[in-house]
């Protein structure tokens, strides 16, 4: 699937999820079709799938809610197709991405529904019985339940469809050093995001999520246990900066009334009165909470040009870069830049003192780690058609050592920004299977 770059509109289908601490197992795919001896196309069931499920096991698996009506409807259609016959054999197979557990639950529910239609299940050797085969299939938007009803030489087909639910949430991972908490998902591109916790003296205790998209900022607020788009807070903003095909954006300061953010070469303020202005000269503040350093966003591109910075009395001039990590260690400030040629450069003086190869283009500083060494989070290599990963590195003078296992993602990481606390990172990734964008917060856990 191609990295979508659709413009966000209020009519987009948005998927709202909550932070969770469980990981859902990835659904497996069905096998390729083969030819049955009777000429009918047959799909070989996956090795783990059975055509019947022990009652106890079935009872343990709750059927997905969206299948409830579909199962009833399909049972009615099967009964109608059987006419006056009441005896049937039932074969069940799953060639979709529905998990084995859910498929077993659907199968069990199917049998129950057919029983309620006063149909009887017969032994396979009974030639008088109507042969029914139910197949769980899918196209790119829906799951499909298909029943083939063979009565003598007559064959009928009945179909039901179920819209596919939103992608499962990926929560905490078992990675020993890095942990991920997914806080938001949507189909439209996400450039950055922020979570606003309730104010200390707030009566409503509302938590907000601000989501930056290529066309502006959206705010979501919890209503009960669901996130709702909150429209009236911000006046719509028309982005005036020329877009890049790989547009980047960042939320840099927020308050309850006004939020400042950067999109490409534009600086925007979202609030009761919103506006955007050209910002190609002043640039983005790269290190907002520490050493002051701004870098101009190259118009129409996806990287920064730095005019340089004074570190003490020494002026340092940097090459163009995709991202940078600024680490302050004692009296020394360390600048690590992901340069355009695909290598990361470490500066403590005007001349780079170290080069790191094999790093991705997005890096952030996570401050001091478990053993006081400075930490940098780095994306993986590969293009946007591949799954990505985050790797933690610990800096010791001008050496970087990988620490812990990489944290895997289901698609490319499209944005990586430091968290406001200086110890976490805001990560935006895109699932290459579903195309959905996912906003996560990644932190480091010190394992003793």
């Amino acid at each position: 699937m191609r990295p979508p770059r659709q413009l966000l509109s209020l009519s987009f289908a948005l998927f709202f999820i909550f932070s969770v601490t469980e990981i859902s197992p990835a659904p497996t795919q069905g096998s390729a079709p083969s030819q049955a001896p009777n000429g009918q196309r047959q799909v070989t069931p996956r090795p783990s799938q059975a055509t019947s499920v022990p009652a106890a096991a079935a009872a343990q698996n709750a059927m997905p809610q969206e299948w409830t009506e579909a199962v009833r409807s399909l049972a009615r259609k099967i009964k109608e197709a059987m006419g006056s016959s009441r005896s049937m054999t039932l074969e069940f197979q799953n060639i979709s991405s529905i998990s084995d557990a859910n498929a077993a639950a659907i199968q069990s529910a199917m049998r129950d529904a057919l029983s309620r239609e006063h149909l009887e299940f017969s032994a396979a050797v009974n030639n008088e019985a109507v042969k029914v085969r139910v197949t769980l299939s899918e196209d790119h938007t829906d799951y499909i339940g298909a029943a083939e009803i063979q009565k003598g030489d007559s064959r009928k087909v009945a179909l039901v469809s179920v819209t596919k639910p939103p992608s499962p949430n990926l929560g905490l991972t078992p990675a020993p050093a890095l942990q991920k908490r997914v806080v938001f998902q949507q189909a439209a591109p996400i450039l950055d995001f922020e979570i606003e916790q309730p104010l200390p003296n707030s009566n409503d205790g509302l938590e907000f999520r601000d989501v930056l998209t290529p066309t502006g900022l959206l705010r979501y607020q919890f209503q009960g246990d669901r996130l709702q788009l909150q429209l009236p807070d911000f006046a719509p903003v028309r982005i005036t900066a020329r877009n890049s095909r790989d547009v980047r954006g960042r939320i840099l300061r927020s308050g309850s009334q006004e939020i400042r953010y950067f999109i490409g070469g534009a600086l925007c303020v979202a609030g009761p009165v919103s506006n955007c202005s050209d910002n190609t000269i002043l640039g983005w503040p790269i290190n907002p909470k520490g050493v002051s350093w701004g870098a101009a966003y190259q118009a129409g591109r996806n990287y920064f040009q730095s005019s340089g910075i004074y570190s003490g009395e020494v002026r340092m001039t940097f090459p163009a870069f995709y991202s940078a990590a600024v680490l302050e260690s004692g009296r020394e400030t360390i600048f690590v830049l992901a340069a355009l040629e695909g290598k990361a450069l470490l500066f403590t003086s005007p001349v780079p003192s170290a080069t790191f190869a094999g790093w991705g283009d997005d890096i952030v500083s996570l401050g001091q780690g478990c053993d006081t060494r400075q930490q940098i989070l780095v994306t993986g290599t590969g293009d946007w058609t591949k799954p990505d990963s985050l790797q933690l590195y610990e800096l010791d003078a001008d050496r970087a050592t990988s620490a812990g296992q990489p944290l895997q993602f289901s698609g490319p990481i499209t944005a990586l920004w430091p968290g406001d606390d200086g110890k976490s990172a805001r990560v935006v990734s895109r699932d290459i299977t579903t195309g959905e964008y996912e906003a996560s917060i990644v932190t480091v856990v010190c394992n003793n």
Binding site: M1, R2, P3, R5, A32, P33, Q35, A36, G39, Q40, R41, V43, I95, T135, S137, E138, D139, H140, D142, Y143, I144, A146, E148, V157, A158, L159, V160, S161, R242, N243, S244, R245, D246, V247, G300, R301, N302, Y303, Y322, L340, E341, G342, K343, A357, G358, G360, D361, D362, T379, G380, T381, G382, D383, W384, T385, D388, P412
Partner: protein, 380 residues
């Protein structure tokens, strides 16, 4: 999508710069929409190039192109150079320019890719396996092209009675065609839409039944010996269609049906001259239908429009607005049951990529090549 032999990579965010070298087989002589394409291949190439420039007018038109690229230089039928449009509303393409060389034969294109003389080529489906074995970096789309037998309108051609159509449909060994002729690129087709699109392709049988086909052919011959004869047309410029036609002739012979493959000079032409030049007795031909939409309802509607005409199955079904899986399946089944069209195989589009091409993803049905999103890894 299949991506084999991906090379090592060193960077992730798209890089700007470089010239993407593309080779296509068709010799595109005009981008002017008013000038009809000589072949289906040229029409497809024109559509791809036109979509990049968003300019269907002549290269010398006064109005500048509004697409992702602008035409910089053009030698009709030979080469075309496009340069990135900095004012593209979606953002400037990552590559600076695209150089398109036309009229290269498939094997020459593959050789050029191996020798690093080009970055992007189309590969005929029957050569995909050979290309992969040669170490070429391959990208495959989802199967989005239907290869089928279309029985032609009796007004112009010798009619093929329904009994013959049914017998031939049972005689065709689709699995053997996919495995041996197409070298396992693609999948057998029993319906009009592939499984990933409709979710119900598995309900259509793809198996041959030689015994029943033979029996039906005997019954037909008993009524009229000429009814077991068919002339099967294929595009004379398409070696894959020729191979498929020859294989079908072999299968048909096993069932007692005499099928004679015959090259058709111009694909899809309906002019009087073209009809006069058609092989004598032509009553069935191989057609390749590229699915134009990722929505099954829209794809079926398009199919009904593509094969409109007295010989088609028009009137057998109609697709409602926002059709569900059942409505689409019933329509498909109704059309297949007429045997006016006999699906044979679903094919993917196959592309060859050089080592430096990044972020290429094969387009979905109805979409054009996303070359504006491709970038080139700069070799050190």
């Amino acid at each position: 999508m299949l991506l084999l032999a991906a090379p090592a990579k060193t960077a992730r965010r798209p890089r700007y710069g470089g010239t993407l070298r593309v080779e296509i087989g068709a010799a595109v002589r005009s981008l002017d929409a008013s000038v009809a394409a000589a072949t289906a291949e040229e029409a497809a190439a024109k559509a791809e190039i036109g979509a990049l420039t968003n300019d269907q007018s002549d290269a010398k038109a006064a109005q500048p192109a509004a697409g992702t690229f602008r035409i910089s230089e053009w030698v009709p039928g030979k080469s075309l150079t496009l340069v990135a449009n900095d004012d593209c509303p979606e953002g400037r393409p990552f590559v600076d320019s695209i150089e398109i060389t036309m009229g290269r034969a498939a094997k020459d294109r593959m050789l050029d890719l191996e020798l690093d003389k080009t970055d992007f080529i189309e590969i005929p489906q029957d050569l995909a396996r050979h290309a992969a074995d040669a170490g070429i970096r391959i990208s495959e789309s989802k199967p989005d092209e239907l290869v089928a037998l279309l029985f032609l309108h009796p007004e112009f051609h010798a009619p093929a009675p329904e009994e013959l159509r049914r017998a031939l449909a049972l005689a065709v060994d689709r699995s053997a065609i996919v495995n041996f002729v197409l070298q396992k690129t693609g999948e057998p087709a029993g319906g009009l839409l592939p499984q990933w699109l409709s979710g119900t392709a598995f309900l259509f049988s793809t198996a041959a039944d030689l015994a029943v086909a033979k029996k039906q052919a005997e019954e037909i011959r008993a009524q009229n010996a000429t009814w077991t004869q068919a002339v099967l047309g294929y595009d004379s410029g398409d070696s894959m269609e020729q191979k498929v036609a020859e294989r079908i002739a072999v299968d048909a012979r096993e069932a007692g049906i005499a099928v004679t493959p015959a090259p058709v000079p111009v694909a899809g032409s309906s002019s009087n001259d073209a009809i006069a030049n058609l092989p004598r007795g032509l009553n069935v031909r191989i057609v390749r239908w590229r699915i134009g939409s990722g929505e099954p309802g829209a794809a079926m509607t398009e199919y009904l429009q593509s094969f409109q005409g007295p010989a088609s199955s028009t009137g057998v079904c109609a697709i409602p607005k926002s059709p569900g899986a059942e409505a689409i399946y019933l329509c498909e089944q109704a059309i297949v049951d007429t045997h006016e069209i006999v699906p044979v195989a679903f094919l993917p589009q196959v592309y060859g990529l050089s080592a430096r091409v990044r972020d290429w993803q094969p387009p979905n049905p109805g979409e054009r090549w996303p070359l504006a999103d491709v970038w080139l890894e700069q070799t050190p």
